[in-house]
């Protein structure tokens, strides 16, 4: 049976109103835009539900007319796909326009329940309005990014509540067959659900994970745990002068995280990751990676090192935190290579202020400047990881740097370090209007993916262009399991076919 789009849109207009459907030319063009090398993906239309019941109506109609849907919350995952569907011709379900209510904030138990359009900025504003006793863990990405979209794509921040999926609790999901599923304690067949958003692990299998980086359902509400706002946040920062100092840095960070002495994750950013936020590449038109001299000049200009480490403590007061910072300072400075930058001095450095904002649960725009490092609007993120072993991390650093440079691109990376694992956020910015640069960016991504896979390393979040490629890197049993689940929950395959490779 082929898709009958006209019948679908007519049905939705009839059920949800004419304002719930948008097929204007400019809308189709813009919703298809993304920053990938592979080109835009024009959708067949955009629909705007106002409620879970509306989402059910859309999913049921899509099943009836065999129309593929692609749900987006706020569409801010720039570098991973924006609002673009997996393939052209899908119908965007824009949840963010009207489903943007903060359903509940429980100040005593410190959680919120949100719809997909609730942004980090909106949550922050509301928490401040309520007295600023709680804070939400934010990303260092767009303040207008959606909390549910980020958690479902396994996005993260930097505070002790950094793991956005891990700190989500209790979902409401419209499955591919139009049924509504409540996860966790919400699965109790009862009107009053006391522990839906306070207990993750009660009876039965934990189904929540099925809805991350997948296409098995449309999440329409979610509980998110919030952190009590500490009276004082004090950051600390170190710079190291040489590229190969990463080995020492990782060895220094690991024990501080294994014991959880430092409550935040460590941001270990290379020179270009921080410098790129502050300007444009002086050699963007050279067709080559930035020269070493230019890179060092930039470092000197901004007072940064080859590696730049940021973390923070929380406490009752600055005085209460000071001894802990002193211990970290002694620990990092023992080899003599680290330079220390304190909280007050760091506030004057925009690149460090981004880190301070993130540790403080304040959405900020500073890091978006990375996207203007090269002109032309091309941007993809490559997100492998390394164990927190200095030698291995440094080997990956050398490998990645060489691959970037071989493709004439600038090695731009931040390792976000936990106790055992660091996620390497590699930014590939390129001129999307330049065919050669597009080709090199694409080749660079593929080479990186292939080389790290050879060494037993997989990626995390993935750009839209590479979902199929990464899915093909998985073992056959994984692929069969994903397909089987898809068949069970969305037998007609109408939700985001192709997303993360799952058809």
């Amino acid at each position: 049976m082929t898709a009958n789009f006209d019948a679908f849109f007519k049905d939705i207009e009839g059920k949800l109103g004419a304002n719930a459907v948008n097929r204007a030319e400019e809308t189709l063009v813009r919703y298809g835009e993304n920053t990938m090398p592979g080109g835009d993906r024009r959708p067949a239309g955009v629909v705007y539900p106002k409620s879970t019941a509306d989402v059910q109506a859309i999913v049921r109609s899509a099943n009836a007319h065999r129309v593929p849907l692609y749900p987006v919350s706020t569409g801010n995952n720039i570098g991973l796909g924006s609002r673009s569907a997996s393939t052209a011709g899908q119908v965007i379900v824009d949840l963010g326009r009207d489903m943007n209510r903060i359903v509940e904030i429980n100040d005593r138990l410190a959680y919120a329940v949100v719809e997909p359009g609730v942004t980090y900025q909106a949550m922050h504003d509301e928490l401040v309005r309520r007295g600023n006793h709680l804070m939400v863990d934010v990303t260092s990405g767009p303040p207008q990014g959606g909390m549910i979209g980020n958690a479902l794509d396994k996005g993260a921040g930097y505070t002790p509540y950094f793991d956005h999926f891990g700190f989500a609790c209790g979902m409401e999901v419209v499955l591919g067959n139009g049924e509504v599923l409540r996860t966790g304690d919400g699965s109790l067949d009862h009107d009053t659900l006391v522990n839906w958003h306070t207990s993750k692990y009660s009876f039965g299998p934990i189904l929540d994970g099925l809805f991350t980086q997948s296409n098995y359902g449309i999440v329409t509400r979610m509980g998110i745990w919030l952190m009590p706002r500490p009276p004082a946040v004090q950051s600390f920062h170190f710079t190291f002068p040489d590229d190969d100092d990463l080995e020492e840095v990782i060895e220094l960070c690991r024990p501080l995280k294994l014991s959880n002495f430092v409550p935040t994750l460590f941001r270990v950013a290379n020179d270009l990751y921080l410098c790129a936020s502050e300007g444009e590449s002086p050699e963007a038109k050279s067709g080559k990676a930035l020269s070493r001299d230019a890179r060092i000049a930039l470092r000197n200009k901004f007072g940064l090192g080859a590696w730049n480490i940021s973390g923070a403590f929380y406490g009752a007061s600055e005085a209460a935190i000071a001894p802990m910072i002193q211990r970290v300072r002694d620990h990092f400075c023992k080899s003599g290579k680290a330079s220390y930058i304190d909280h007050n001095a760091a506030q004057a450095v925009p690149a460090f202020q981004v880190a301070i904002n993130a540790f403080s649960g304040k959405p900020s725009l500073g890091e978006l400047g990375l996207l203007k490092w090269r002109p032309g609007g091309g941007n993809i993120w490559f997100t492998p990881g390394t164990p927190m072993d200095g030698k291995i991390a440094n080997e990956f650093q050398k490998l990645g740097r060489k691959i970037f440079e071989d493709h004439g691109l600038d090695y731009t990376v931040m390792n976000v370090c936990g106790p055992r694992f660091a996620r390497g956020l590699h930014v590939i910015t390129f001129n999307r209007q330049d065919e050669d640069e597009c080709r090199r960016a694409d080749a660079c991504y593929r080479a990186m993916a292939a080389e790290v896979a050879k060494r037993g390393v997989f990626v995390g979040r993935a750009p839209l262009d590479y979902h199929d490629m990464h899915f093909a890197q998985t073992m056959p049993a994984f692929r069969q399991a994903c397909s089987g689940i898809k068949q069970a929950l969305d037998p007609n395959g109408i939700i985001a076919p192709g997303r993360y490779g799952i058809a």
């Binding site: 813009r30 005593r108 309005r129 767009p142 209007q433």
Partner: protein, 440 residues
């Protein structure tokens, strides 16, 4: 974004600038999330990147623009929220101004629209005439429903209380030792609507050792006409101000207390392109920037009344002056509360609430709701347009921060708060955490 201007077109420096701006836009789309008209309509042509595309098409084609294009560009607030959010820093303000000039020169609006715009452009920069027109307008208020949506909305915006006080050129001596010499932009529409703001500003500056000059020949900054596409009128006003302040003797600063005007005066270098204009632009400070710079520490701060501070767009997006007003209000003793969704425009936007009343009303009501949700004792801001718009939608007085700072440092209670009963402030506890907060 790629452009296709002809060689002949690119002999016009204004189009060369527009081309450069357009080409920096790469359609990331961050701007759409913070654009008030896009958020309310979800119409791509009501978003900054949509408008940039429309402007490109209009300027490339030359001549009379399409009516639909004009409508989408007219509905832009020029709030510049998009510029704050834009990752690649597209210089949208100069592009939309260029587009408005093109429309003004090449598009024939209907008679009503033309008449209304001509009236606003003539009346608003002339405070005495504006005050007179407001008096006449008040008498016409009962007939508002008969006058159509736009004129009716315009009459409705006339505040119940105005306090016109139009200053002539003069010099106000510093109290005590003279430490600074500043020129004050007395403004135009603000003087007709609310003379209390200049009075408080002058008292405050004098109290802080400033000689305050109202320079002969200075008047409207040109902002209102510039954003209506009347570039020549705006340039005339700007030239007059530059000449007035250049001839006023040595100045430490040109002080502006209406942030919409401040954004324009700071940008005189771009508008006029000469050295004098650039010099005046560089010398210009919002009154809050200047006060914080010279030190503001009232000897006996006021009780910690809860002040909801609304960031005018021209202040936060145009001038990036965000922390200074808050720091001053705190120094004055107030508890400052942020308003949710502070990046959003209140709908005032110069003449926007007069020319686009429907969208402005939606934004005004939204802003008023957010402000009310903070449960403030006092609502304060830093731009006369926002004060008028918010007071209209909130139904209670809105004061300028200088009125509060003046009050806190020995001046009178703001006249707009006369008769307003303020709650006894709660004692602040800075060390003990709230009952349900974490254990630290």
């Amino acid at each position: 974004m790629q452009t296709h201007f002809s060689e002949a077109q690119l002999r016009d420096p204004a189009l060369v600038e527009a081309k450069g701006i357009i080409e920096t836009c790469v359609h990331y789309g961050f701007c759409t999330n913070t654009c008030p008209t896009y958020v309310l309509t979800r119409d791509e042509n009501e978003s900054p990147r949509g408008r940039i595309d429309l402007i490109r098409e209009m300027l490339e084609a030359g001549g009379a623009p399409k009516p639909a294009t004009v409508a989408h560009l007219d509905s832009c607030l020029s709030c510049l929220s998009c510029m704050t959010t834009c990752a690649v820093k597209v210089d949208y303000v100069h592009l939309i101004d260029r587009a408005r000039v093109h429309i003004e020169r090449h598009y024939r609006r209907d008679m009503m629209d033309r008449g209304l715009r001509a009236l606003l452009a003539f009346v608003l920069p002339r405070p005495r005439l504006f005050a007179l027109m407001m008096r006449a307008g008040r008498m016409a208020k009962p007939f508002a429903p008969l006058l159509g949506a736009r004129l009716g909305a315009m009459l409705a915006m006339i505040p119940a209380r105005t306090a016109p006080d139009i200053l002539g050129s003069q010099v106000f001596p510093a109290e005590g030792a003279k430490r600074h010499r500043v020129a004050l932009l007395a403004g135009c529409a603000q003087q007709a609507l609310n003379g209390d703001i200049n009075a408080a500003t002058i008292r405050l500056l004098r109290r802080h050792g400033c000689e305050v000059v109202i320079a002969p020949g200075a008047g409207c900054c040109g902002s209102l006409t510039l954003h209506m596409g009347r570039e020549d009128d705006a340039r005339r006003a700007a030239r007059a101000n530059v000449a007035a302040w250049r001839d006023a003797g040595a100045l430490d600063a040109v002080i502006v207390n209406a942030s919409g005007c401040g954004t324009t005066v700071k940008d005189y270098g771009h508008l006029l392109g000469d050295a004098d204009a650039k010099c005046i632009g560089a010398l210009t400070r919002d009154v809050s920037e200047f006060l914080l710079g010279i030190g503001f520490a009232p000897p006996t701060p006021l009780p910690p009344y809860r002040v909801a501070y609304h960031d005018p767009c021209s202040m936060q997006h145009g001038q990036h002056v965000i922390e200074q007003p808050r720091a001053l209000l705190r120094a004055a003793g107030f508890e400052v509360v942020d308003v949710p969704e502070r990046h959003f425009c209140c709908g005032s936007a110069g003449t926007y609430n007069l020319l686009q009343p429907a969208m402005a009303a939606q934004l005004g009501a939204r802003k008023a709701g957010h402000i009310a949700s903070t449960d403030p004792d006092i609502v304060a801001t830093a731009n006369i347009g926002c004060m008028t718009q918010i007071a209209h939608h909130l139904g209670c007085p809105v004061v300028h921060i200088v009125e509060l700072l003046d009050w806190a440092s020995g001046g009178p209670r703001p006249p707009a708060l006369a008769g307003v009963s303020l709650r006894e402030p709660q004692l602040q506890t800075t060390t003990a955490p709230a009952a349900d907060a974490g254990f630290w």
